[in-house]
Amino acid sequence: MTAKLTADSLTLFRGERCLFENLSFALNPGELLLLEGCNGSGKTSLIRAIAGLIELETGEIYWDEQPVRRQRQVFNNELVWMAHRVGFKADLSLVENLRFESALRRDSRHDLDDILTRLNINRLKRLPVRSLSAGQQRRVALARMLMSAATLWMMDEPVTNLDREGRSLVMTLVSEHLARGGMVIMAAHQDIQIDFPVHTIQLQ
């Protein structure tokens, strides 16, 4: 059986530099893809390329055995992305931001208050995002992932700026998502301890 998400000999250049060449991987529901590598090794570029934000030099990504570029909307519907920049409007409150976001993707129909309580940011919900700390903003970005019903979570260094409790919370959420049959692509520096199949890609 072929995998849900497959990448076939991806090559990407940034300027003159080759970030990766002939990179292939396959990912099934309940599996985690871990991207490792030092700073500037192309982890973020790979994630952005999978999300379709960067044009690949060669190679094709398949979702359900169909090339992603032919069904961008279907693929994006299954995708939620946690980037370096949280992507919230600093002038709007956390709830206003999340309400707006929910119009942009498939809703998981979880109660917003439950999600915010779980992430320990419920008491901040009326404050504008600009007044939140960097770690608190990361928690709001986690709330975005919980609010979406997407299968594929793409997380670019999700534990940056988070405290110890936040880091373990991320791992709990990832485990729960995998247990539901979700898939996770994660770029990380730290070692990941998790009881699910992990594929690792080491970028040079």
Binding site: A51, G52, L53, I54, E55, Q73, V74, N76, N77, E78, L79, V80, W81, A83, H84, R85, V86, G87, F88, K89, A90, D91, L92, E96, F100, E101, A103, L104, R105, R106, D107, A149, T151, R180, G181, G182
Partner: protein, 232 residues
């Protein structure tokens, strides 16, 4: 999650959400919205003071000055259209959304026109009075500006989307937009002049309307393509 055909968020809902969010942001920072309007009002009121009170001269130059001022005011407001979305990462979140980017771009342009184009149309008759414009011409002035600002909003959004990744793309934006905006300026100002002279204005209005229809239907796709290129 195991559904074979998972539902997609609606196109109209995404577009309205973007428009509403941008209007709300404008409400929270009214200074940015009032800037172009202030510029428009300043140019249009200073000009009669500079050229003197001669009635013929004012009547003659009124349509042209109002139209140039409106065009420049629109240009002024376009620069920042996508910059904040680009910088805080919310543009990337829109790019990976299942809602087509063209619909989201159209939502942003609707909000832009409501906050910078429409106010110009509304204050234009008041400024027309400083040029001794007769009341019968006001309707034509407002109609040409209405059609013109819609076109300018969309046209400018293409330029703003192309230059969003560049720092200080202002000059480039103007260079890109102005040639395409020239027909609007020529037909807009001329139609108002013709109305003041009591001539038939339908031709000019039809042209402006046709331009607006064309740009409304094509620009969203151009904006979406430009945003994808800028965000690479």
């Amino acid at each position: 999650m195991t559904d074979n055909q998972p539902e997609m968020p609606g196109l109209g809902r995404g577009m309205m959400a973007v428009a509403k969010r941008d209007l709300f942001l404008a409400w929270k920072r009214p200074g940015d919205v009032l800037n172009p309007l202030f510029f428009f009002a300043m140019v249009a009121t200073l000009f009669p003071l500079a050229v003197g009170p001669s009635a013929e001269q004012l009547e003659f130059s009124g349509p042209g000055v109002l139209w140039v001022a409106a065009l420049l005011a629109m240009l002024l407001s376009l620069n920042s259209l996508f910059v904040s979305d680009f910088e805080d990462g919310s543009l990337e979140q829109m790019l990976v959304s299942p809602v087509p980017l063209a619909a989201l771009s159209l939502g942003k342009t609707i909000a832009h026109w409501l906050t910078s184009g429409l106010p110009l149309v509304i204050v234009a008759p008041i400024l027309g009075m400083t040029f001794r414009m007769p009341a019968s011409v006001m309707g034509v002035l407002m109609l040409t500006l209405l059609l013109g600002t819609i076109s300018l909003s969309l046209l400018g959004s293409i330029g703003a989307a192309l230059t969003v990744g560049l720092h200080r793309g202002t000059a480039l934006l103007s260079l890109l937009i102005l040639p395409l905006a020239m027909p609007l300026l020529i037909f807009g100002a001329r139609t108002v002049s013709l109305a003041a002279a009591g001539d038939v204005v339908a031709g000019g209005l039809y042209f402006l309307a046709a331009y607006a229809v064309l740009i409304v239907s094509l620009a969203p796709f151009a904006i979406a393509a430009a945003l994808r290129i800028s965000n690479e």
